[in-house]
């Protein structure tokens, strides 16, 4: 087989509950800020929602996009295009043949607002009032299609869907596109816009959301003994991935490398993680092997840790299972404590955090951990960032999704 290229990260973009771009989001994360806040109280009054808060996006897309863009894109695509534009500009708007440029930007759920607004229009006004853009806006490939259209990405535009693992799986697929020779540059990431009463009611019905209504900023608390569920977030993270040769040839700045991708499925339950963590362990082991690193090289893990009773500990034990005694020198960060859970956007945003942690040599904090769970078997970064060592280092970003999807990415320093 011909030479398999290394895949480097040359551009970052995001719009999140912590900020409208990567710089403000990362600064807020290092400062330990929370993006959770109370939402429209009429939702609670009208529908009886038991949860009154979420990690809503910090910068309204209406402040950033034009009216036609707002009208023809679902919020999930709006967030994606905002993040993609930032990532592309950050990468220096690489000159690349469109047939060598790919797009893999996914949402875990799709154009939820468009679906529900369209249904309201149909019921209230009838078919004659239905806008023709409704289906192009609601389809889950809409974000990646808009990215493909905007940047002329013709090597392929893909939308991997795996619930809360979506953003990481998209990046993994993009890595494969470059390694297999299908593309030199890929715009990849995840997005989600589901802070709407319907999914909130459904998540609440499954008893997975935190009910800490009197303290939204303190609600997402992975690994704290009093954690009581996740905080729904929204937003997007997008990276520009590039073959190392392509990046070097144009003198691009390189943040780091996506060195390994590991994928598995639990085949166990539609929402619950498999208790032994066997599927998570297989994904992490595959990613470490794919990266060609050893557990001793791993200094940091950005945990999936959503702040649920069961899930957080299974993951911590899985990390210990993969790294063994080398887990002793790993700094664990659970950034959903600050951002909430961006579902399809989470894996991409947390990959960005992982890349920046290695690049800036500091692991971001996990906030709200007043009393660490005594069963936690790893060194959790609490309250303040902690330094990562010099030299060549690597980290794991975990993302797990409803349905039993496990994605582990190994990120290596530049």
């Amino acid at each position: 087989m011909s030479h398999v290229p290394d895949v480097v990260v040359t551009g970052l973009g995001a719009t999140t509950p912590l900020g409208g771009d990567v710089a403000s989001t990362w600064a807020a994360a290092l400062a330990g800020e929370s993006g959770a806040r109370h939402f429209d109280s009429s939702w609670v009054e009208d529908y009886g929602l038991p949860v009154t808060f979420a990690a809503t996006i910090k910068v309204d897309p209406a402040d950033v996009l034009t009216t036609p863009e707002l009208k023809r894109m679902d919020p999930s695509a709006q967030y994606a295009i905002i993040a993609a534009r930032e990532a592309w500009a950050d990468a220096g708007a690489p000159e690349v043949d469109g047939e060598r440029l790919g797009s893999v930007v996914s949402s875990g759920i799709g154009g939820l607002w468009t679906i529900l607004n369209g249904w309201d229009t149909l019921r209230e006004k009838g078919a004659r009032r239905m806008l023709p853009m409704t289906v192009p806006m609601l389809m889950p490939n809409s974000p990646t299609a808009y990215v493909s259209l905007e940047f002329g990405a013709k090597a392929g535009a893909h939308a991997l869907v795996s619930a809360c693992a979506t953003g990481a799986e998209a990046i993994g697929y993009a890595v494969d596109m470059i390694r297999s020779g299908r593309a030199d540059v890929v715009i990849a990431g995840g997005t989600e816009a589901t802070i709407h009463p319907m999914p909130i009611a459904s998540f609440a019905a499954s008893r997975t959301l935190s009910l800490r209504n009197d303290d939204p900023a303190g609600a997402s608390r992975p690994y704290d003994v009093d954690r009581d569920g996740f905080v729904l977030g929204e937003g997007a993270g997008v990276v520009v991935l590039e073959s190392a040769e392509h990046a070097a040839a144009r003198g691009a700045k390189v943040y780091g490398q996506i060195a390994g991708v590991g994928l598995s499925a639990d085949g166990y339950h539609i929402t619950s993680p498999e208790p032994s963590g066997e599927g998570q362990i297989r994904a992490m082991r595959a990613a470490v092997a794919d990266a060609g690193v050893t557990p001793a090289d791993i200094v940091h893990v950005n945990a999936h840790a959503t702040s649920t009773k069961v899930g957080d500990l299974i993951e911590a034990r899985s990390v210990r299972g993969v790294l063994g005694d080398d887990a002793d020198h790993v700094l664990l960060s659970a950034t959903k404590s600050m951002t909430g859970h961006l579902l399809g956007g989470a894996g991409a945003l947390e990959t960005i955090f992982t890349i920046l942690a290695l690049h800036d040599r500091q692991a971001p904090p996990t906030i709200n951990v007043e009393n660490p769970d005594p069963e936690l078997v790893l060194d959790l970064v609490r309250d303040k960032p902690r330094a990562l060592r010099d030299g060549q280092i690597a980290a794991i970003n975990n993302s797990f999704g409803f349905g039993g999807h496990n994605v582990a990415l190994v990120v290596a320093s530049a």
Binding site: P68, E69, K125, R128, R129, P132
Partner: protein, 82 residues
């Protein structure tokens, strides 16, 4: 209440502006939807749907192809008002 042609032009210009991003004052009566305003068929059907609701008229599909210019649309809507 019937809208005047001037009111219809202003309302239509607003719809076209929101759909295309063009300034409303550039949506002049003599402008062609396709040649001057670069409106494709999907956008045209969006504009038709929004105009039907705004002016409470029906613009049959067979009629849309005859609406070459903004003026054509204004005249049709004015005549279609009950």
């Amino acid at each position: 209440m019937a809208y005047s042609e001037q009111e219809i032009l202003a309302g239509l210009a607003e719809i076209v502006s929101e759909e295309t991003g063009l300034p409303a004052d550039s949506v002049l009566p003599e402008k062609s939807f396709t040649d001057d305003l670069d409106i494709d068929s999907l956008s045209m059907m969006t504009i038709v749907t929004l105009a039907e609701e705004k002016f409470d008229v029906r613009i049959p599909d067979d009629e849309v192809k005859n609406l070459t210019t903004v003026s054509d649309a204004v005249s049709f809507i004015a005549g279609a008002q009950s």
